[in-house]
């Protein structure tokens, strides 16, 4: 089979498909992780998901990441450090507690943290916060390393610098492989793991898939000794993630990295593929981060970067076989969670490819769900 896109999701599809016994060719027009995977952060989160299909996928993925960490943990900088969500007001804390209760019912481990305990978990947090919730299952990887190491571990034939220009289909409409700028690659199954460009690849097979970009900026500080222990963010982040607004949203997400720098992200705006630098966005991120961690006031930002999250209108990825094109599978549109959700997505795709029953119900992720909506 052919996997189009050597980002985090494509690499995970390659790995699990190869382990299920399939012959895999992994194609990318650029290098490994040259798309959004190389332009984002590597949080593996269950904490930011509301109960529902995405949370189930996140829990499956978290388990699989934990298993992969046994063999690749150091190479991909896996850190099971846990997430700490904080609320600044009593009202915010009530809302957070309600969310946590729902998550707990879905199988998430949550630990309420009262105001007095916050600083024993995170000594440098700002004083005066109302409280928070600790999510021990939240973890972190370095996305580019993760994609590269999963791709290598898969043993797949890696074809970088090769652009897919068409999905080849036989007389019966079934997939026969892909055409690339450097010749055809024949296979009875093709996985669209083209991230933000997943809509374009779907179109190459003749089917619509409304994947759109959602821009995000990240700030990177100078390297520091570890002062932020968990992944720390404010409770309003959960609302931003699920938001339908096109306008800019920023809420502070602060985390230390194995390499030393603190990462501060991430803004969300729908501005198309606009790469221009935005000072207001960067200022808002800085303001949010310093509110949580006052010591950051004196810490310098070394660089900023931006990426484009692939999102679908209902904020769920397209995952599984496309009933419109036999042999075509989709694994794209993971928005701001494609690193975290990659392992589960890869596993489910491998199970679907080998004809087994996927361990999660794929119905909510059906790739043709938007076409139906349009005609309904």
């Amino acid at each position: 089979m052919v996997v189009v896109g050597a980002g985090m999701v494509g690499a995970a599809c390659a790995l699990y498909a190869a382990r299920a016994g399939l012959d895999v060719i992994l194609v990318d027009r650029g290098p490994v992780a040259g798309g959004t995977t190389g332009a984002g952060e590597g949080n593996l989160l269950v904490s930011d998901k509301e109960p529902g299909p995405e949370l189930h996928l996140a829990l499956l993925s978290a388990r699989l990441w934990g298993e992969l960490a046994q063999e690749l943990g150091t190479a991909v900088e896996y850190e099971p450090k846990g997430g700490l969500v904080v609320a600044s007001t009593p009202d915010g804390l009530t809302a957070l507690a309600r969310l946590a209760a729902g998550q707990r019912a879905a199988g998430v481990r949550t630990v309420p943290v009262d105001a007095s305990e916050l600083r024993s978990l995170e000594p440098h947090l700002a004083p005066g916060l109302a409280g928070g919730v600790l999510y021990p299952q939240d973890a972190q990887v370095m996305p580019t390393l993760a994609a590269a190491h999963l791709a290598r571990a898969s043993g797949a034939r890696l074809e970088t610098g090769r652009t897919v220009t068409r999905v080849l289909r036989g007389a019966d409409g079934a997939v026969r492989g892909v055409r690339t700028d450097r010749g055809d690659l024949l296979a009875p199954a093709v996985v669209n793991a083209a991230g933000t460009w997943g809509g374009e690849v779907a179109a190459l097979a003749g089917v619509p898939l409304p994947v759109l970009p959602r821009r995000g900026f990240v700030l990177v500080t100078e390297p520091l000794p570890r002062r932020v222990r968990h992944k720390v963010y404010a409770a309003d982040y959960v609302a931003d993630v699920a938001s339908d607004s096109a306008a800019l949203q920023t809420s502070p997400v602060v985390e230390g990295t194995a390499a030393g720098p603190v990462l501060i992200g991430a803004s969300r705006e729908r501005v198309g593929f606009d790469r221009s630098f935005s000072l207001p966005v960067v200022r808002a991120l800085a303001a949010g981060a310093t509110r949580l961690f006052p010591f950051l006031d004196d810490v310098r930002v070394m660089r900023t970067y931006l990426g484009f999250r692939p999102y679908l209108p209902d904020h769920l990825p397209a995952l599984g076989p496309d009933p419109r094109v036999p042999g075509l599978f989709h694994a794209c549109g993971h928005e701001g969670a494609g690193i975290g959700l990659a392992t589960g997505s890869g596993q489910l795709i491998a199970q679907a490819l080998t004809g087994g029953t996927p361990e999660l119900d794929l119905t909510p992720f059906r790739p043709d769900r938007f076409a139906e909506e349009a005609t309904a």
Partner: protein, 481 residues
């Protein structure tokens, strides 16, 4: 001083920025000249710190008269208030006035405004915002240094670093020096070190005479520059500096610090010729492999780049309205070219900010100089080149990125088995170029070792900025002018 005069912010007070400032100020523009240095002059006319009481700084400079003319011109403009010179201002970014949604804030969309954000003083903990109608980027270039075994030893310095010490601090970096690499900068560095009392045992240049003969047409167009070169040759001879053309450094040796270097002749294939290795004892090795334009600020403004340099038209305008660029940020070509470009840019900015066009007839002389010098520097750039296969000489153990201590072996592994195909992925996989210097020091070296193109990375902010300053800007510009 009329309040209605347009304001031009000139960033960089080297030859290009000074020429632009004077040209614009002479044509009715108020200029805010901004530079991170404590004095005007840039890299070329770098001034000794006043406290050192240097008696004859001109001994370190040629073209002293040109400098004096610029300096006097600037003093006059400072006195009449047409120019404000902000020293010790480190520009971290330039912002076009626009809101988050991309709508212009100001009611007059035809006159886009800019805000230059700069950090103050050596501490860089405070910031100011400078408003202007137009921005002229004259930020110059920085040095390119390629790695080789031993290049991280104390005692190995960059050619420009040695130069800056000579010009700015007048201290001698060491006693026995070798100057090596490629490019015209090596000549003043070697003669400068020798004149300051160092024993310069060799100037090791990887280009050879034939590389110049092949480009003699474009080089002959600038006899003054050739004469300048001849002058250096005479001085090298006088100081008994042995010039080793078509040679390269193989390795720097030393335990605690530099003790010697091994150099070798280059064969016709660009590889070291077997049996020619020669060990030279020294305590200082000044290396340089040319210059690269500073483009961070331009990039942040959305200006189009041409390869490694800011792209400009024949008026030195970038493709972003209201933004000009001149000097080595638009391509490396030496101080005389920077002066010509700065002059043309200043004239264009003055005319355009007044809503007119620069007089084409009157800019012909500077434009001719520019054409001639650009051809010359292109010829030079083609002639001066590192050895074709320099990356082969970099052993796997050699650290190529000093900030993050990444070895050549790690870079090769990223390319070989992890599927990195471009510089960005190599960086992400190895952290090479992600440290304090943000790859300014190592980018060319890492790209060469990886065997991929040295695409310029976007580096914003241009200077590291404290988060608190970003979060609560003390520099918010006044709402209206």
């Amino acid at each position: 001083m009329s309040e209605r005069r347009p304001v031009l912010a000139v960033i960089g007070a080297g030859p290009a920025g000074l020429a632009a400032t004077l040209a614009a100020a002479a044509r009715g523009v108020r200029v805010t000249l901004i530079d991170s240095g404590t004095q005007a002059g840039g890299q070329f006319y770098r001034q000794p710190a006043p406290g050192l009481g240097a008696r004859r700084p001109q001994a370190l400079h040629h073209q002293w008269r040109t400098w004096e003319r610029l300096r006097t011109g600037l003093d006059t403009r400072l006195a009449d208030g047409r120019v404000t010179h902000l020293t010790d201002h480190h520009v971290c970014w330039v912002e076009r006035d626009s809101s988050v949604e991309g709508e212009p804030v100001r009611d007059d969309p035809a006159a886009p405004g800019f805000t230059v954000h700069a950090l103050l003083g050596p501490e860089q903990r405070e910031s100011v915002a400078i408003r202007a109608h137009g921005v002229l980027l004259a930020t110059g270039a920085y040095e390119k240094v390629l790695p080789f075994p031993g290049w991280t030893l104390p005692g190995v310095v960059t050619a420009g670093g040695a130069q800056a010490l000579l010009k700015g601090g007048l201290t001698l970096p060491g006693r026995t020096a070798v100057v090596a690499g490629t490019g015209p900068l090596l000549l003043p560095v070697a003669t400068g070190l020798a004149a300051a009392g160092a024993r310069v045992v060799a100037l090791v240049e990887s280009a050879g005479p034939r590389d110049f003969v092949r480009r003699s047409r474009s080089l002959a167009g600038a006899p003054d520059k050739l004469a300048e070169g001849a002058g250096y040759a005479a001085r090298l001879l006088r100081h008994r500096v042995s010039v080793k053309a078509r040679h390269t450094v193989l390795e720097a040796h030393g335990v605690e610090r530099l003790e010697s270097v091994t150099v070798a002749a280059l064969g016709p294939d660009g590889r070291p010729r077997p049996g020619t290795a020669l060990r030279l004892p020294c305590d200082t090795l000044a290396v340089g492999h040319g210059l690269l334009p500073h483009t961070d600020l331009a990039d942040g403004l959305g200006c189009r780049l041409d390869g490694p340099a800011v792209r400009v038209d024949d008026e030195q305008r970038t493709d972003v309205p209201g933004v000009w660029a001149a000097g080595e940020s638009t391509g490396v070509g030496g101080a005389a070219l920077s002066l010509a470009e700065g002059h043309l840019a200043g004239r264009s900015a003055a005319a355009r900010l007044h809503g007119t066009a620069p007089d084409p007839a009157r800019r012909t002389r500077a434009a001719r100089t520019r054409t001639r010098l650009r051809a010359f520097s292109e010829g030079l750039a083609g002639a001066f080149a590192p050895p074709a296969h320099w990356a082969e000489l970099v052993t796997d153990e050699t650290v190529v990125c000093r900030c993050e201590e990444v070895t050549a072996g790690a870079v090769r592994e990223a390319v070989g088995s992890l599927g990195a195909g471009d510089l960005r992925t190599v960086k992400l996989l190895t952290r090479a170029g992600m440290g304090w210097c943000q790859g300014r020091m190592c980018e060319s070296g890492v790209a060469g070792v990886a065997g991929c193109a040295a695409t310029p990375a976007r580096r914003l902010p241009a200077r590291p900025v404290p988060l608190g300053m970003l979060a609560a800007p003390t520099d918010d510009p006044p709402p209206a002018r």
